[in-house]
């Protein structure tokens, strides 16, 4: 039997718990009224329940801090809202920049909460595709709430936030894949579908690799706009720095720029970047050189020489791998040979990057260690297979000796038997 005093304690705790649950959300005039309003709304319009999880609530901001009005005016709708000078009510799209910017563009204010938080969001936004369109009267653009949410705003690194890395493509495509929304701007609506099937899309969305770029990594966040043609290599080069460096030094860089071709984009695409295949270098259907160059152009010979080098590495590697597997199958230990195969594979990846120099000598020098590793693996595998043959030979000799010896013993037994028989006769 639990003592009566314990029951009292439990009862008190229960009544407190309801308060504790909302203790971060001040139950001011706005909240106490709107909780009741919420009960008559659909789930998706329940403002207070959304706001409870908002980052601003945790920092002590009330509804009035954005919407204006008097949070102390309990049970008086007019005093709280309509008759109050500061009251904004529902914030229109254009008004958002001012309302959010009131705090978020104020470095002195923001420094209270974080010393390194950015305060340039509004400035950036005004330069963005969205910002410029909005200024020109196009209301079908994203503003702060379109991406960050309105009442349940979560920090960027919260996986539930619409602006968390993995969620960004879906958030952007909410508008950018919708033809009615994009009608006024005339922009295409196939980016998300293309991105989904791309190397980056599959890495981010299917494998969850947040190292892979989402829309904002190439287009920017608040200053979102398509990269300038002359800057594409810088954008891609943020991660693919080797390819960028090699390409910038190559003779193709200036030629592309002069022709208005977006460097990396010209061969690899932008949203639909597929995993490149070696067939890009072959002079056939998938060639990325043929669209510009005639068969008589030296580009053909160069592309084919690259293709040859890579193909030789591939076939060499495959051959070496098969031999190592054969040796392993026959019971030999091949762990050191696997290292050589690994080195060869790395050389192959290296070579595929090196072709961005469009320099035959450079590519061939880079591929040489790969061929060496392949040779080492093949020699090692051959040695293992030779050892197998050596063992078989040894077995053969041993079997001969035993057979010979056994037959000799057999004859000896026979001889003794005969001796005994003749002795007893």
């Amino acid at each position: 039997m639990i003592k009566r005093s314990y029951w009292l304690l439990i009862g008190l705790l229960f009544s407190f718990s309801t308060l504790i649950a909302d203790s971060t959300l001040k139950k001011d005039a706005c909240v106490s009224c709107h909780i009741e309003v919420d009960e008559e709304n659909d789930d998706e319009d329940k403002i207070v329940s959304y706001y409870k999880s908002d980052l601003h609530v945790k920092l002590g901001f009330s509804c009035a801090d954005c919407h204006g009005g008097d949070p102390e005016a309990y049970d008086d709708e007019d005093e709280a809202m309509w008759e109050n000078d500061t009251f904004i009510g529902v914030i229109e799209k254009e008004e958002q920049l001012e309302v959010c910017g009131k705090c978020h563009s104020n470095p002195v204010f923001m420094r209270q909460y974080s010393t390194d938080i950015k305060v340039d969001q509004v400035t950036q936004y005004l330069t963005s595709g969205h910002g410029i369109a909005l200024e020109n009267g196009n209301e079908n653009v994203a503003v702060c709430s379109s991406c960050h949410g309105v009442h349940g705003i979560l920090p960027v690194d919260d996986p539930r936030a619409p602006v968390y890395a993995k969620n960004i493509p879906k958030t952007c495509s909410k508008c950018h894949s919708d033809e009615t929304v994009m009608f006024e701007s005339g922009l295409p609506t196939n980016q998300f579908t293309e991105y989904e099937m791309s190397v980056h899309g599959m890495a981010l969305l299917d494998r969850g690799d947040i190292g892979a770029p989402a829309c904002n990594d190439c287009h920017g966040n608040h200053g979102a706009s398509p990269p300038y043609v002359s800057n594409v290599d810088q954008i891609c080069g943020t991660c693919h720095s080797n390819n960028k460096d090699l390409f910038q030094k190559s003779h193709l860089n200036d030629i592309f720029l002069s022709k208005g071709l977006g460097q990396c984009e010209a061969c690899h695409g932008n949203h639909d970047i597929a995993k490149p295949t070696d067939e890009f270098l072959n002079w056939a259907d998938e060639s990325t050189c043929k669209p510009c160059h005639e068969d008589s152009h030296p580009a053909k010979a160069l592309a084919l020489s690259f293709y040859q080098t890579i193909d030789s590495l591939k076939t060499g590697l495959e051959h070496a791998r098969k031999m190592v597997e054969k040796a392993e199958h026959k019971g030999m230990i091949v762990s050191n040979l696997l290292f050589d195969l690994d080195d060869a594979k790395k050389a192959l990846i290296h070579t595929r990057t090196n072709i961005h120099s469009f320099n035959k000598a450079f590519v061939d020098t880079g591929a040489a260690p790969g061929f060496q590793s392949i040779q080492a693996a093949i020699i090692g595998a051959k040695e293992s297979l030779e050892e197998v043959e050596y063992r078989k030979k040894g077995l053969f000799i041993f079997s001969l000796i035993i057979t010979f010896f056994v037959i000799a013993i057999g004859f000896k037994i026979n001889e003794w038997k005969k001796q005994r028989e003749s002795a007893s006769n």
Partner: protein, 153 residues
Amino acid sequence: MSQTKRSEVKKERRSFLNTLLKTGLVAWVASVIYPVARFLIPPKMAELNVSSIEVGLISDFPKSSSKIVRFGRKPIIVIRKESGDFKALEATCTHLDCNVQFKSETEQIWCACHNGLYDIEGKNISGPPPKPLAQFKVDIAREKIIVSQMDLS
């Protein structure tokens, strides 16, 4: 054939058979002793040790240089810092498994595949790598550099 001739032939056959028997015995014993004797002689490498390896002499490593060596089944990168101290880290990038390299100018470790960057302690500081590089213990014993697994304590 006479009686003596017959027994002589029999004696010859017997001694021939005995010779065959002796040869067979000797051959068999040799075919067993040979591999056993070779087995007993220890191979040049005393043991297959993957808990620690010797990567070379201090003199093999100029300051601000690095080398990738095999540690059991994994590649590791052994770095000699500007200060002269040694650092050993796993050489496989934690993003998509490329081999990392040492950048002596900034004393950082860089992955060429997607521009991932680690500091000299192996902590991932920029780019896609999600985790730091695993650490290895480095000991110096009489000019020799010995790399071994980190103690789990």
